[in-house]
Subunit: 154 residues, 2 copies
DNA sequence: TTGCAATTAATGTAATTACATTTAATTTTG
DNA sequence: CAAAATTAAATGTAATTACATTAATTGCAA
């Protein structure tokens, strides 16, 4: 079952066209998987992404802009996502002392606890990929990076 | 510039976690590229996807369900997307004679003309990937397919 | 120092999406 | 055949997204 069967598309103009479609399709598919995984915890993939970024700061605050720079979906409105996490009492928000335009955001213990819960299922889910060799995963990461770089240096 | 730099994330738990993030990020990134490319033509990536599916039917009608099965984003509401294309007079919609629950959709000449215009820029855009070897593109397609298959046969 | 440009977040809004429900037609089952 | 179940599409809706604009603050240059 390859991308051709998944989309019932018999022919592609080129290997590149096929790859473009495959990347978008697999990205959506992966996001959907994540979405399903998160549903029981009441988080959207974007909220989860923000929460993990906050955890990654190890008790240091980060601004809304800093969050945006680290998000997988750069178009998301980090300001409103933080609002949602605030409502759920998973994060803390306060004016940044160094720059009063900016806002510092930090994860709360409740957020860390929730993430640890999700870590368990996430880990179990990732085990399904165990059959794919390290080499392949490496190759995949490299090729995807290379593809994006074609444009950053154009 | 790899995914680590793009997201300012120094460490990943595993190569698999990194690949999951990389796939979602590159998928979003690719979609964004497509979006930019389509803006001058007044089409969203989803509308464009539908239009190309219709062209792929070579003058045969296809139902809304058939469109959904072929779409990259399975969650899109094909019914409303067809509405939009109808507004733009790019497609034709009529009751399916064999099954009156279903609706046949076909691309109109205006739709084909628009797609041909977009083909040009799409092709020019894809040229940027020319530096990436055929082998790599093949590998990429195979690995992405393999990743999705891990779940279809779970 | 003052005024202008740039930066940071927040907000308004129209469009889109996710998800459930509805409507209509077809198929299956008793 | 009639009733029930299933299928296809459309629609209602609340939430989210895309995009532009605004408000507040900072940095810089004259």
């Amino acid at each position: 079952m390859g991308i051709s069967e998944d989309l019932k598309q018999t022919k592609f103009n080129s290997l590149t066209s096929k790859a473009v479609v495959n990347i978008i399709f697999t990205g959506n598919w992966m996001m959907q998987q994540t979405h399903e995984l998160l549903k029981p915890y009441g988080l959207t993939p974007q909220q989860y992404n923000v929460l993990r970024i906050l955890r990654g700061q190890q008790n240091n605050p980060i601004t809304v802009l800093g969050i945006t720079e680290r998000m997988m979906d750069k178009m998301s409105n980090a300001s409103r996502l933080v609002d949602k996490l605030l409502e759920k009492k998973l994060v803390l928000r306060r004016e940044c002392p160094q720059d009063r335009r900016a806002v510092d955001v930090m994860i709360l213990p409740a957020g860390l606890v929730l993430l640890e819960e999700i870590d368990q299922v996430q880990l179990a889910w990732e085990k399904k990929f165990a059959g794919i060799s390290t080499d392949k995963m490496d190759q995949l990461n490299e090729i995807l990076d290379e593809i994006r770089n074609v444009f950053t240096n154009n």
